[in-house]
Symmetry: C2
Subunit: 316 residues, 2 copies
């Protein structure tokens, strides 16, 4: 089993947001006039986000994520624009339309608003396009929460073609957040630990997960989270794969871990946690568990970590 590989292992055929997307062409972001010049090109396209939701169009009866930029800029007030990169020679932008446009866009028969999660679960676009839409969503969600300078409180303005914000009052530069989250499966021989968050459907179980903190390695974060949430101790930790996760702007770091204790003590972040055998996990993944236990869809790294375990990867 190849545990990590730029070309993706056999565990991750459908891991969403992980395909390499556009050539980002970062060297163009700070070139004076780039944004204006590239947006004026007749072949320019735009991915549109409004109220955290991708705005899709139609071409020949098929859903379409890339709009003609002239059409896109006419749909509503543009809160933010970002140069996402080049598709061959073609510039692709993200446009963030004002939330006030949301109802009008929803009412348009030429458009369809589908939430990001559904797009990824249903695989409505090629993996690279799903990644590009996710990148635009993550970027605009960061912009929306960073209109003011955290250093001095003054308003900030976007710069670098949408890839940073600057404060003219104190000269601070602010860059998009990418928050690492450890997500992991503690393994005790032939069993693994799955938990149910209070917000989950009653039958759904998944890997435990939590935001990494300053000063932590992947392994330390994995150990802390499993101990905090389930009271289980962990020894060796093994990195499996990562996944950008635009809800709102995380980087999931998937690990398997060797449990060194088995008694479960829940904190209030979990509604339940249990040990499941490898056979049970296979049944859960196949949608055939006798108690109707389900798990996250194939597009999520939790599914892929569970699949790796089901296929025999261990925590040590």
């Amino acid at each position: 089993v190849t545990l990590f590989d730029g070309a993706r292992s056999s565990h991750t055929p459908e891991l969403a947001f992980s395909a390499a997307g556009l050539h980002r062409a970062g060297e163009l972001r700070d070139r004076a006039g780039t944004q204006k010049e590239l947006m004026a090109r007749p072949d320019a396209r735009a991915i549109i986000i409004c109220a955290d939701t991708p705005v899709l169009g139609f071409a020949n009866g098929e859903l379409l994520a890339h709009h003609d930029i002239d059409l896109a800029t006419g749909l509503g007030d543009i809160v933010e624009a970002a140069f996402l990169g080049l598709d061959g020679e073609r510039p692709v932008f993200g446009l963030h339309l004002a939330p006030s446009s949301h109802e009008a866009l929803k009412a348009s028969s030429a458009l369809k608003l589908i939430d990001m999660r559904s797009i990824a679960i249903q695989g409505l676009f090629t993996p690279d396009t799903v990644n590009d839409i996710g990148t635009a969503k993550a970027l605009f969600s960061w912009h929306a929460r960073h209109r003011f300078c955290s250093n001095c409180g003054a308003p900030t303005t976007p710069a670098s073609a949408g890839w940073k914000r600057v404060c003219e009052a104190c000269s601070s530069e602010h860059f998009p957040r990418t928050d690492p989250v450890a997500i992991m499966l503690a393994v005790d021989g032939d069993r693994c630990l799955l938990g149910r968050a209070p917000r989950f459907p009653a039958t759904m179980f998944s890997c435990l997960a939590g935001f990494m903190e300053p000063g932590e390695t992947f392994a330390d974060a994995v150990r802390r989270e499993i101990k905090e949430e389930a009271g289980v101790d962990v020894g060796r930790v093994r990195f499996l794969d990562c996944q950008p996760w635009p809800f709102p702007s995380s980087l999931m770091i998937g690990c398997l871990a060797e449990a060194t204790s088995t008694t479960i003590t829940l904190d209030d972040e979990l509604a339940d946690a249990r040990w499941f055998t490898r056979d049970e996990v296979r049944l859960i993944l196949a949608g055939q568990h006798p108690d109707g236990i389900t798990c996250p869809p194939r597009m999520a790294i939790a599914n892929h970590i569970m699949r790796a375990f089901a296929e025999g990867v261990s925590g040590s």
Copy 2:
């Protein structure tokens, strides 16, 4: 060669900031009165940071990082306090003293101010203590730059015993940043690509590195950075190890990558970049390169990635 292991591979005996530090006891952070009650305990200790610099004491002629909390709180105005965790039963806090205290602290014969980098390079404390000092430094550097709400511009106040800031005006919660940075060595058979940043000493070369962006996997970030900075194309990417890096608050993600082109085209982030053979890298690591080429110290992950390559790990 074990490429990743919670217990650290043989490549990483001295990787700084990576030892598991204190038991963080996160469940205590939000318990009412915790901070006050634990700080009042006679066995409580404090790690002190002033103007980004650790403030050390002496005990029996030895440098000491953990001060008696009564002594520590009397040294100057406390800008921020954070509950770092438990050392056995003993609570350990971080204290951020006002930069205005800096000169007075420096003048005290009972104290010694040593910058974080020197502490790590010289291995002045045990690895877990170095990690705790680094965590305090990263946390306070984040607090210092987040006194205002990025969402609405109002002042924020610390909460959760120093692990978040809240905005009373708009109810936003803000958590410490941990910025993932891809750091990598492109490998072409028996050669690897090292670069020299303009700020480096004239003879020093290191791995290339850059902040990860929303929507990127480790592999995508590695490919983008190597292409942007040196014009070299990369195929497979292999994760080696990670390192928390408190300058100011990064998470280094160390990778080896298979080069698929070899012509170097520099952008302005690098002053130079060259291919070095495995033998040359061994000489650099040993401080015996005929042209006097040097590299980052053993405490930095760049050194460990170079060491892995020197010992035969490849990019594919």
